[in-house]
Symmetry: C2
Subunit: 235 residues, 2 copies
């Protein structure tokens, strides 16, 4: 079973590494880390990850995972990436996202008429892509599974692991990574955190969204030859 994990400049590392730590260990899984080109990809916390394949190398996947980004990069107009996502989605059994990765699925036209979730501060924006914003840790609609912000990817990955390999395997993976969460505070959701803090964070994130326009949807194939627009690694 082939898992394609999308990497792109400005992504949030934990969106990918959390699920990858679980899903790449499933029996029979081949994990592919795919970016526009093979090589280093900068994430939004400063650390770089390495993609071992480029878009041209991967034409098929059973499962696709699209991570989000903390700044507006995820919403940049990036036809080459959107086109690759559509091409791979046409071959997947499941197409998944973590955090604002769902906005990228939306921009690729894959959420039309579907319920979907995202980072809480970005949830409303899903409607612009014809999706029904649904506030939940994980939302499944047909073959598309979206999860909420960053850390929600761990919960999604465990649920997904059980579906693919059975609950026993999922329990073993949870025990293996000692995922027995005990955060020292209870501020992980806008319903629980101080409203002033929620408002401030929402404003900051909305500013980032507004700085980058929502990519307009395109028809499949239309953008294959479009110029690259993503930020590239600085030497």
């Amino acid at each position: 079973m082939k898992f394609a994990f999308l990497l792109y400049e400005g992504m949030t590392a934990l969106d990918l590494i959390g699920p990858h730590e679980i899903l790449s260990r499933l029996p029979g899984v081949t994990a592919m880390r795919v970016a526009r080109q093979a090589g280093p990809v900068h994430t939004d916390s400063g650390i770089s990850l390495i993609a071992d394949a480029g878009f041209a190398d991967v034409m098929h996947a059973d499962i696709l995972l699209v991570p989000g980004a903390g700044d507006a990069t995820a919403m940049q107009d990036d036809p080459a990436t959107l086109d690759w996502i559509r091409r791979i989605d046409a071959t997947t059994r499941w197409t998944t996202s973590v955090c604002t990765g769902s906005l990228i699925l939306g921009a690729a036209g894959l959420l039309r008429g579907r319920r979907a979730t995202s980072h809480w501060a970005a949830l409303d924006r899903l409607a612009a892509f014809g999706a029904t914003p649904t506030s939940a840790r994980m939302v499944e609609d047909g073959k598309v599974i979206t999860s909420a912000g960053v850390a929600a990817g761990l919960d999604m990955a465990l649920a997904f692991a059980a579906r693919i390999a059975g609950e026993r395997v999922a329990h073993g993976l949870q025990l293996g990574i000692e995922y027995d969460p005990d955060p020292p505070f209870d501020s992980g959701h806008p319903d629980k955190a101080d409203p002033a803090l929620v408002a401030r964070l929402r404003a900051l994130m909305t500013a980032a969204f507004v700085a980058a326009p929502i990519p307009h949807e395109r028809s499949p194939g239309q953008d294959a030859a479009a110029p690259e627009t993503l930020r590239h690694p600085q030497p």
Copy 2:
């Protein structure tokens, strides 16, 4: 404030990326990702991370974080790394570890007479380094803070963020990464998982430990010119 995150071949990516996603975003923090040499480092789930500095480039840090490894690599005899850890520890305000990273701190001689935790399946081995194995999600003893397996690094990082930058900032970071955990199963701790599963995982992990002998402790400085023993990236 300078944070040094140690990277090494065979490490577990999530041990580092979880805390890094939180701690690197603290105001006034400079995060350094340091390995024997700058460049790619393979992790035990297959993805590679990039170290942007080598040991020779970093002589001081306010905080050091040492991640663990799922296989025996963490316990390999690696004098150059142990020596660098001791050198940096001599300059830190806090020295921290995630998962079996505490075994590396132990091998460096930094846990003698201290209480410490580790991945549940490795906890007993801390005694070999003169530490008192302490089953807890996070253990603080003097300036050394150790955390339990993999995902415990997130909880430690949040507690640590509050200490450094105040609870308000920590709440904001928790909300930002939507760390409102809701795992679909409750198998993340040996006290909660099926005992047969615990026994099987413990046997697997113990086999990995036995395959690699515990590095004997050395005096600071003794190993500066020792040959490298870690596995290096395959081309």
